[in-house]
Symmetry: C2
Subunit: 406 residues, 2 copies
């Protein structure tokens, strides 16, 4: 009989101390006793990664990325060994592996490596022997045996990639929340856990600031159609399933509201309406490594226009310096900065086939006396930049308007 | 021109914190600037290994040895990454490696693995590029890619084995003392640093309780004639050279006095003088994993004899239980235990060709009213078990008698 194979991923908060490691072991063993084959991916214990970064910074603030990977990959190696020991203690067979040992081959872009392929023979072999496989998340190895890491949230990617490679029946992502919510429950207590959501909606939400899962791992899941189950490591409740297509009885137009308060807005006034002018500004920002998010340029009057864009607050001072310089060079006017903004977005695949959704959003905000400073739309989302002080009111009114509390 | 290659090994206390890591980096770089090729072997930071063992014990007091190796090997991996970063900071090129990455292949005896071979091509390649090579001590990898560790003090072994494999001109072992002393300076302030000592003498000292270097690594150095320099990581003074043969102007008979206070003595009285009786006792102890050190049995009277032996204090209670049981089975008499003993030994290759050395030792102890409870001799050492309270007086009088202070 074919036994179901589940890949389970536990984040750092799920293995933050001895007791939590023991709880994860109990959960894994309870699945084992139900007859599942299991591959368990684990992140570093609690704040280990941050502690190692602090230590490295004391020695060399500009540490080599290769050595950083060498250092940070130890965090997950500690977790997998300890989890294997905890499972042994409960009487089940388990064996731990580093990324290198299970053949997670990556390119050599240290600290943000991409997986090239997985040689999972070792895992298949040990699964056949009836063992629970524990794999260090977040890490891989180059073809020349250098240790690499996959970037923040990389353990999600390890889990999804292994689920794909091993044709797992499901990939469970354990986290400290119960799943994906219609909006942040700290902002809107009526927020409701979403049972099913599509990869596209989840990707959109991740790019709009929802931090439950790493965007790259959702992309991989989408590409290979790996069913994902996001759920809490502190409860047994079903969480949110992320899948290709959600068959809903009634089409839902808006599925979630996201809120991002980590952005700042920069506006360049009186930009000459000439070809190549916008390119100049954004090329300068790009070469300095500043990630620009929303860009809005309106039709011009008197051969002049205003260009606004948002960037992460962390990069604001760098961006403003560069923009002021560029503004002079292109003979534009004043450069304004506003850190007191928030981005509120509505997300849903249903928008594609429904008109009037944008109007509904703007109307709701207007009725609540919330002024819209910038608008940006995609196939399945609409975002508005508003004053930060009005962010919570905006989320709550939109949550109500699109019937998300049910 | 052939550049000299030196293998340098730094123990845990030499890299216990950020400042000490920076000091090690400075020393390594100063050698580099003198034109040496360098392979640097590092242990885990300070107490990291013990902390990881404590953590593992909380989860599973009977942890699998494979998982223990997986866990403990992270300690050295952290050290090598940090040391590489510290060397980069000083402007030199360096690259760190795990034991697995530099092809230290071992058998699968986890926690006490033996090195089978070293595929050092990677090291040679990076040395050619002019890099300083930093290697994680204490660890290796099996042919099936399982991580192993080499046992306590295993970093010494890594250093010596690499020095052999790479035909290094010297293997420097950095420690927190200035070299090998004629005796423990805390016991005899007149103790003098020994400039040259033979592998055999060093091995004898290690087996008699001197803890400067791991015995296995000295055996390997002897086998392949690797010159070792034991010296302090806190000073620039020359330490002790360990070599095959020491050409001394005048033959030194006794080279060092060692003292071991970690043993306990067990005596079985009235053992029947029959074949197989001693075998029974020591077979029982061996199967329980108790290491017996000295064994003394005298000629028998009335077909009975007393057998005394020493074991490590840590194993005393286990040993006494087993011995009492065995004593009943072989119909012997009372079993006596004495933890209040010390073993004082004199060591020197010169003994081989000099008579009267033992007499000199016994005479000196007698003159100082120190009673000898057991005697044991080897080719190059003589050990006496005496009362612990007289241990220091014994060491000092022997140090004087054999002219070690000079």
């Amino acid at each position: 009989m074919h036994k179901k194979l589940i890949v389970q991923k536990f984040g750092g908060s799920s293995v933050a101390n001895v007791e939590r490691i023991q709880n994860v072991a109990k959960r894994v063993v309870s699945y084992r006793k139900q007859g599942y084959n299991l591959v368990v991916v684990v992140s570093a214990l609690g704040d280990t990664t941050d502690e190692l970064i602090t230590l490295a910074n004391k020695i060399n603030a500009d540490a080599s990325e290769r050595e950083m990977d060498m250092l940070l990959s130890t965090g997950e190696q500690i977790s997998v060994a300890l989890l294997a020991m905890a499972i042994h203690k409960l009487g089940e067979e388990a064996i731990s592996f580093t990324g290198a040992q299970v053949g997670i081959i990556t390119d050599d872009s240290h600290t943000r490596a991409r997986i090239i392929k997985i040689n999972a023979d070792k895992i298949r072999e040990e699964l056949k022997k009836g063992k629970i496989i524990i794999v260090a998340g977040f890490q891989g190895v180059t073809l020349t045996q250098d240790i690499t890491t996959l970037g923040r949230g990389g353990s999600d990617l390890t889990a999804v990639a292994l689920a794909k490679e091993l044709h797992a029946d499901e990939c469970e992502i354990y986290t400290d929340v119960e799943g994906i919510f219609t909006t942040d429950p700290r902002v809107e207590p009526k927020a409701r856990k979403i049972d099913w959501i599509t990869y596209d909606e989840m990707l959109e939400m991740a790019s709009l600031g929802a931090q439950v899962m790493q965007a790259r791992s959702i992309e991989v899941a989408k590409k290979f159609n790996v069913p994902i189950h996001v759920r809490s490591s502190f409860s047994d409740k079903t969480g949110t399933m992320i899948v290709k297509e959600v068959k809903r009885m009634e089409e839902v137009v808006v599925n979630a509201i996201t809120l991002n308060r980590n952005e700042a807005k920069i506006t360049i006034c009186n930009v000459p309406d000439k070809p190549g002018v916008a390119a100049k500004i954004f090329k300068d920002l790009a070469s300095a490594g500043v990630n620009v998010d929303m860009i809005v340029q309106n039709v011009s009057h008197l051969r002049q226009t205003d260009i606004s864009f948002t960037i992460s607050k962390a990069e604001a001072s760098k961006a403003i310096k560069l923009t002021k310089k560029a503004s002079k060079q292109i003979e534009a006017g004043e450069v304004l900065e506003d850190e007191d903004i928030a981005r509120v977005s509505i997300v849903g695949v249903g928008m594609k086939s429904h008109s009037g959704v944008a109007a509904g959003m703007f109307d709701t905000l207007a009725k609540n006396k919330i002024n819209i400073e910038m608008i940006s739309t995609s196939d399945i989302s609409i975002s508005c930049i508003i004053k930060n002080t009005q962010a919570e009111a905006a989320v709550r009114s939109l949550h109500e308007r699109f019937g998300l509390a049910k």
